[in-house]
Symmetry: C2
Subunit: 234 residues, 2 copies
DNA sequence: ACAAAAGTGTTGAGAGTACACCCATGC
DNA sequence: GCATGGGTGTACTCTCAACACTTTTGT
């Protein structure tokens, strides 16, 4: 395809990098944005925490590989997941050239089956706002994942993906506030989220704690995920 | 990192996919959005057109590989380029497993040195709105690239990257109209682009064709590239 | 009855949109 | 002087942002 590497050259003969997927698994716990990390047992970066990931098998798609990693760590399938970015700087893994395709997943905490310790590997949820020492370039990947998640919250209805199937508007608002690290106005929030027509009332009410019971809402399966942005040019 | 593939396993022993970069090279020619393609001489897809690309060398970064491909095909360096998406469905290349990290570049046509035919490989500019038969999954990659470019135009000032160093507001407007496939209002366009404060007058005027000479503008090097989007939540 | 959280409207400011005519030059 | 493209302002609408009190329940 290029002058140096003719297109008829069989690509299987090339010196090839390793390819992995890493999955940034977000969840909301106790009004905090958490990410699931794995403690490394071996060098390099032994004892440090890392984003769950693994090698892409030779005959599986990238999405399948990412979904497999997610399921291995959390037992969860069928959640919101999207490709984040591909990181491939030489030297990011000191052992050999490793290119990683990073994904991020939004997991409702009540759907997580494997709790930390279930698996052989030690895993734990960490606050995104209080991270431990991280292996490789994983701090950079997490920073980028948070930026993308915040950005995405502002023009899509992706926030629901972190909550249970049914939820109250106050819970949804707290989710947005937690992720954006910012207080939102209750009346404006409700008006806007209802105007987007992505929610439907379930008819049920949540009566657990103190105070007036709250209406429970569900995400409308038929809703368009992407809310049209206001455009820069008419 | 996973149950099946222990983290202490040396990744260099794995059965590894090939990794390429493909660069979607956009330019504006005669008020049309063009993309540079290469004619394939060998199987698979012999005679079909393809996005320029090549293997990532074992010790170069992905960005370097993409910039190298761009320079080989156009002679251009230092233009706007960003990572688009990573495509890795098994079978997208019938020879072997190939994962490609796609980039897109915005190239002012007057900067292109290698014209079609300069190189050994046959290259040609095609209208994005009238594409030939394409090899591999390259039609899908181009469709995604166009979507991203259009999207990006709406909330950033990236349109300049397709024009010469100095340009008139009418030329800029025509660039936006061409890419978006949509007429824009002249007064609103001018008001908005000037309000963004990313342009500066050069003092020069363009007097070539008919009509009143137009002021020539330049992109302000110190301008912030990303224009703040209106947010969905306050 | 009181504590706690849910729920609800209005107003002012700023941005978006639609729309039509005069200006400077070359021929 | 006329054809050609460049350049300019205003009024209406709509969305955003700020702001405080009433309602429903459990104890």
């Amino acid at each position: 395809m290029t002058a140096e590497i003719p297109e008829n050259y069989d690509p299987s003969h090339y010196d090839r990098p390793s390819v992995t997927v890493d999955v940034v698994i977000f969840s909301l716990v106790d009004d905090d944005l958490k990410v699931l990390l794995i403690k490394r047992k071996f060098a390099p970066f032994a004892g440090m925490w890392a984003i769950p990931g693994g090698f892409v098998r030779i005959d599986e798609s990238l999405e399948t590989a990412a979904a497999r990693e997610l399921a291995e760590e959390t037992g969860v399938t069928d959640v919101y997941m999207e490709q984040l970015y591909t990181f491939g700087t030489p030297g990011r893994d000191p052992r050999t050239r490793v290119i990683t395709i990073a994904y991020f997943a939004l997991v409702p905490y009540d759907a997580v089956r494997h709790q930390p310790g279930d698996d052989a590997a030690e895993t734990s949820w960490f606050s995104m706002f209080d991270l431990p020492a991280l292996a490789f370039d994983h701090r950079e990947i997490l920073a980028y994942a948070l930026t993308r998640l915040r950005y995405k919250l502002e023009y899509t209805a992706v926030g629901f993906q972190l909550l249970p199937d049914i939820f109250t508007l106050s819970e949804l608002q707290r989710a947005y506030e937690t992720i954006l690290s910012e207080k939102l106005d209750k009346r404006n929030f409700r008006r806007k989220i209802l105007a987007a027509e992505v929610l439907e009332e379930t008819g049920k009410k949540k009566r657990d704690g103190e105070g007036r019971p709250a209406k429970l809402y569900a995400y409308r399966a038929d809703a368009v995920a992407e809310v049209k942005t206001r455009r820069l040019f008419p």
